[in-house]
C-alpha cells in the first residue's frame, strides 16, 4: 500500500515539474523564468558563489555573538510555538489533504497510519523547500551551509511532528470530555508553575531585580540567564535546546555531538504521532474543502473570503433599477470590499483619524511625533497611488472567474470597464484624501517648516485634484494586464506557481510602473505649461492648483482612453481560449 502512496507522491512531483518545464516553451513563461531566476540568484545564490558579494547583510539581521544567548532565544521561540499548539487551537485534528486525496485515499483500503505516513512524506516536500529557502537566506550571514540545512531540517521536521501530535492529543482530550478551555487552563497552569518555580529558584540564589537594575542591560541579561539555567527552566527548555543544537553547531564535530539529542527528540515525536489513533478523517475532509476555497479566494485576490467565514456585506447605498449601468458594478464591488465593514464604520474611522491628527497638530510646536506621523501619512498617500492598486482589487482581477457572467450582460464594454474600476478608484481616493488631510495638518509642525497655511492648502488641494484620475490610470494597467495575459494572473485553484511566476510578477510590476510613468509625461507637461503662465500673474500657491487642474484634465482624458481600451479588451477577450472555465 505504501508503494501506491509513494507512486502517487513521486508522480505528482514529477508531472508537476515536467509540466512546468514544458510550459517554458511559451515565451511568457520563459521570460518569467529568466527574470525570476536572475532575481533569486542575485539575492540568494550569489552569496554562496561569491562570498562578500551581493546584497549586504543588514546589521539587525546579524545574530548576537553570544552562542548561549542564541541557543536560549531559539529554544524559547520553539517552546512558545510548541506551547501555542497546545493553547491556541480549538478545532479537532486537521490533516490537510487536497480534495482529490480525500476523494481517492479516504475510501481506499488504507489504514489511518498509512494516511499519516503519506501526509508526513508529503509534508517533507514542503519542509525541504523551506529548508532550502531558509538556508539561502541565513547562509548570507556566514556559517556552513550543510550544517544549516541539516539544522533547519531537524527543527522544522520536529516542529511539524509536534504540531501534528499536539493536534492528535487535543482531539483525544476533546473525545474524553475535556473542553478547550479546560485544556488551556491546565497547560498554562503547568507552564506557569514551572516559571514560578524557576523564579523562586533564582531568588534563592540571586537578589531580585530592582528598578535601577533595569537600566543595566548586563544585569538584566545575567538575571535572565540565571533564570534560564535554573533547574526548572533547564528541564522545560531541555528538549528545545536539543533540537536547535545541530543548527547552532560551529563545526562538523559540534554538529555530530549535537545530532543524537536532536534525532532522539525527532524520533520520539515520530513514535508519538504514528502511535496515535485519532479519527481525523471527517475534520480533514471538511478542512480540505475549506482550504481549496481559501486558496482559490487568495489567488483571486479576495482576501476577505480567504480570512474565514464570509460575511454578507451591507448595500453601501440604495441601488435603484433605473440609471447608469456602471453604478451597478460600483455598488457590487463596494459590497465585496466592505464585507463586515459598513460605510458608517469608514466615516467613523476617518473622523477619528482626522480628530487625532488635529489633536496632535495642536500639541505640535516642533514635537517629533506629529511630524513623523504626518510624514508617514504623506508617504503612504504617494505610495498608495502605485501600490494601492495591488491591495484594492475589487475589479476585473477579483472577477476574473466571473468574466463569462459579465459578458452576458447587455452593457457596453466601456461601461463594464468603468463600473469595474469605480470601486477601487473611489476607495483609494478616499484613503488618499484622508492621508493627505492628516499630512497637511501635521507636516507643517516640522521645525522651521517654510510654508504658511495657504501654501500647504494649495499643495494639498492640488494633489487631491490629480489623485482620482491617477488612480484610474493606475488601475487600468493591472486590469489590462489581466485581460491581456490572464495566464500570468490567473485565479483559481490551479493558479500559476513557481519561479517563473515570480519573474512574471516582477515583469508585470515593472511594466505597470513604466506605463504609469509614461502616462504622467503629458500631464507633467500640461502642469508645467500652465504653472509657467499662471506664475506670470500670480504667486506659486495660486498657480499650483491651476496647473494641477490642467494636469487633472489631461490625466482624465488619458484615463477615459484607458477605460475605453479596457472595455475593448474585455469585449474581445475570448474566455474559451484563455480561461476555459
Amino acid at each position: 500500500m505504501f508503494s501506491a502512496l509513494f507512486y502517487l507522491q513521486y508522480h505528482s512531483v514529477k508531472n508537476r515539474t515536467v509540466s512546468r518545464l514544458k510550459r517554458l516553451k511559451q515565451p511568457k513563461y520563459l521570460a518569467g523564468a529568466i527574470v525570476g531566476g536572475l532575481y533569486f540568484s542575485y539575492y540568494f545564490v550569489r552569496p554562496f558563489m561569491m562570498p562578500g558579494q551581493g546584497v549586504q547583510a543588514l546589521p539587525v539581521a546579524r545574530l548576537p555573538g553570544d552562542p548561549e544567548w542564541v541557543e536560549l532565544i531559539a529554544a524559547a521561540a520553539l517552546a512558545v510555538i510548541a506551547l501555542a499548539a497546545w493553547v491556541l487551537p480549538n478545532r479537532r485534528t486537521v490533516l490537510a489533504f487536497t480534495e482529490a486525496e480525500v476523494a481517492f485515499l479516504f475510501p481506499a483500503p488504507i489504514s489511518r497510519r498509512g494516511l499519516i505516513h503519506y501526509k508526513l512524506v508529503r509534508s517533507q516536500a514542503a519542509i525541504l523547500f523551506t529548508v532550502l529557502l531558509l538556508t539561502l537566506i541565513t547562509h548570507r550571514w556566514g556559517g556552513r551551509a550543510w550544517i544549516q540545512m541539516a539544522g533547519w531540517w531537524l527543527m522544522l521536521s520536529t516542529l511539524n511532528l509536534h504540531l501534528l501530535g499536539a493536534s492528535f492529543a487535543r482531539t483525544m482530550l476533546l473525545d474524553r470530555g475535556i473542553s478547550n478551555w479546560q485544556r488551556r487552563v491546565g497547560v498554562l497552569g503547568a507552564v506557569g508553575l514551572v516559571l514560578v518555580a524557576a523564579v523562586w529558584w533564582v531568588r534563592q540564589a540571586l537578589p531580585p531585580l530592582t528598578a535601577p537594575d533595569f537600566a543595566d542591560l548586563d544585569r538584566v541579561k545575567s538575571y535572565v540567564s540565571s533564570v534560564a539555567n535554573s533547574t526548572p527552566a533547564i528541564v522545560l527548555l531541555f528538549p528545545f535546546r536539543l533540537v536547535v543544537g545541530p543548527y547552532l553547531a560551529g563545526d562538523a564535530l559540534g554538529f555530530l555531538r549535537a545530532l543524537p539529542g536532536a534525532m532522539g527528540v525527532l524520533l520520539a515525536h515520530y513514535a508519538w504521532v504514528v502511535k496515535s489513533n485519532v479519527a481525523f478523517e471527517e475534520a480533514s475532509a471538511e478542512a480540505s474543502r475549506k482550504l481549496a476555497e481559501k486558496v482559490a479566494a487568495i489567488r483571486s485576490g479576495n482576501w476577505q473570503a480567504a480570512g474565514g467565514k464570509a460575511k454578507a456585506g451591507r448595500s453601501p447605498f440604495h441601488l435603484s433599477p433605473a440609471g447608469p449601468a456602471p453604478t451597478a458594478f460600483f455598488w457590487k464591488n463596494l459590497i465585496s470590499a466592505n464585507r463586515g465593514i459598513t460605510f458608517r464604520t469608514w466615516v467613523i474611522i476617518a473622523a477619528v483619524v482626522l480628530g487625532v491628527a488635529v489633536g496632535m497638530g495642536n500639541i505640535g510646536g516642533g514635537r517629533t511625533l506629529p511630524v513623523v506621523a504626518g510624514a508617514i501619512a504623506a508617504m503612504l498617500a504617494v505610495w498608495s497611488v502605485l501600490l494601492g492598486t495591488q491591495i484594492v482589487r475589487q475589479d476585473f482581477r477579483q472577477d476574473l472567474d466571473y468574466l463569462d457572467v459579465l459578458k452576458l450582460f447587455p452593457v457596453a464594454p466601456w461601461q463594464v470597464a468603468f463600473g469595474q474600476l469605480l470601486a477601487p478608484a473611489v476607495i483609494l481616493t478616499g484613503v488618499q484624501w484622508l492621508l493627505l488631510a492628516v499630512a497637511a495638518v501635521l507636516v507643517p509642525q516640522t521645525p522651521n517648516f517654510p510654508w504658511r497655511w495657504p501654501a500647504v492648502l494649495s499643495a494639498a488641494l492640488s494633489l487631491a485634484m490629480v489623485l482620482p484620475a491617477l488612480n484610474f490610470i493606475s488601475l487600468v494597467i493591472p486590469n489590462a494586464a489581466v485581460l491581456l495575459f490572464p495566464a500570468w494572473l490567473q485565479a483559481g485553484k490551479e493558479g500559476p506557481q513557481g519561479i517563473e511566476t515570480t519573474g512574471q510578477r516582477l515583469i508585470a510590476f515593472l511594466g505597470q510602473f513604466l506605463a504609469f510613468l509614461v502616462a504622467l509625461i503629458p500631464a507633467a507637461l500640461a502642469f508645467g505649461a500652465v504653472f509657467f503662465l499662471a506664475r506670470l500673474a500670480a504667486v506659486w500657491w495660486v498657480a499650483t492648483p491651476l496647473a494641477a487642474l490642467a494636469a487633472t484634465a489631461v490625466l482624465a482624458i488619458e484615463a477615459a482612453f484607458g477605460i475605453y481600451w479596457l472595455g475593448w479588451l474585455f469585449q474581445r477577450f475570448d474566455i474559451s481560449s484563455e480561461l476555459n472555465p
Binding site: A312, S315, K332, P410, S576
Partner: protein
C-alpha cells in the same frame, strides 16, 4: 426569434463548431443533442455572447449579436450547468444588481414572487456559500428570469435538481415557451429532450447531423420503425458520422 447562419467556432485550426445554421421561433423549444465534444456548450456560449464566434451570423430578436451585442443581450438569458453567482452578494443583492443591469423598473414584486416560487423567500440575506447547489441554481434561474427574456438557453438544466425541482424546471420551461419565449436546451438526457422539446438539433464533431421537429427526425432515422424513441434515433444519427476534418483528433472543448 433566434436565427443562426453558418455559426463557426475555431480554436486554432480545430473546428469546435462548423457551419451550423438553424432557427428557433417564439414558442419553440429546441433540444441540442450530441455526444461529448460535439460542440453543444460552445454553440450555446456563442449564442449567449460569452465567447465570440469565428464566423456566421447570429440574430436574437432581430439584433445581430456580434454587431449590436447590447441590444441582443437585453432579450436573452443563459443558464449554464453550474450556477454562476457572485460569492459576495446575497440572494436579494443579486436580484437588485441584475434589475439595474437590465433596467427592470419596479422589480421588487416580481423578484419576491420568483423567490417564493423557487422556495428562496426565506433566504434573501444568504450568501451563495450558504446555499445548497439546488438553491444556487434556483437563484441563478430567478436572476435570469427577472427581465422576462424572450430567448432562453439552458445547458443541462436538470443537473443537481431533486425530483420536485426537475418537475418544476420542466413545467417552467414549457410555461415560458407557451408565453412566447424561444428556448434552446442542451442536454444528454434524451428523455428530457423528447418530453419537452418541439424541435431537435443533433450535433456531432461540431457539425449539424440533423434538425427538425421530433417527428421529422424520427422519420429520417427510424428506418421504418414508427415507435422508435429519441435514444434509438440518436444512436442511428450519430452512428455514421459525417467525414471528420483532418484535425478533429485534437481534444475537443465544451460539450
Amino acid at each position: 426569434m433566434i436565427q443562426v447562419q453558418g455559426l463557426t467556432k475555431l480554436y486554432g485550426e480545430f473546428r469546435a463548431v462548423d457551419d451550423v445554421s438553424f432557427t428557433v421561433q417564439p414558442g419553440e423549444v429546441l433540444g441540442l443533442v450530441g455526444p461529448n465534444g460535439a460542440g453543444k456548450t460552445t454553440s450555446l456560449r456563442c449564442l449567449a455572447g460569452i465567447i465570440p464566434p469565428s464566423g456566421g451570423v447570429l440574430r436574437i430578436c432581430g439584433h445581430d449579436l456580434v454587431k449590436d451585442p447590447v441590444s441582443a443581450k437585453r432579450h436573452l438569458a443563459f443558464f449554464p450547468d453550474e450556477p454562476r453567482l457572485f460569492d459576495y452578494l446575497t440572494v436579494w443583492q443579486h436580484l437588485t444588481f441584475v434589475a439595474r443591469i437590465y433596467q427592470v423598473v419596479g422589480y421588487e414584486p416580481l423578484a419576491e414572487q420568483l423567490l417564493e416560487e423557487l422556495e428562496l423567500g426565506g433566504r434573501k440575506n444568504a450568501l451563495p456559500g450558504e446555499l445548497s447547489r439546488g438553491m444556487k441554481q434556483k437563484l441563478a434561474i430567478a436572476c435570469g428570469l427577472l427581465h422576462s427574456p424572450k430567448v432562453i438557453y439552458f445547458d443541462e438544466p436538470l443537473t443537481g435538481l431533486d425530483p420536485i425541482g426537475i418537475r418544476r424546471m420542466k413545467d417552467s420551461i414549457l410555461q415560458r415557451a407557451r408565453g412566447g419565449a424561444a428556448i434552446v436546451i442542451s442536454s444528454h438526457l434524451l428523455h428530457l429532450v423528447e418530453e419537452i422539446c418541439s424541435h431537435i438539433l443533433i450535433l456531432q464533431n461540431g457539425r449539424k447531423v440533423a434538425d427538425g421537429t421530433l417527428e421529422e427526425i424520427r422519420r429520417k432515422f427510424s428506418e421504418e420503425q414508427a415507435d422508435a424513441n429519441l435514444e434509438e434515433v440518436f444512436f442511428r444519427a450519430t452512428a455514421s458520422p459525417p467525414p471528420l476534418p483532418a484535425d478533429v483528433a485534437k481534444p475537443g472543448r465544451g460539450g
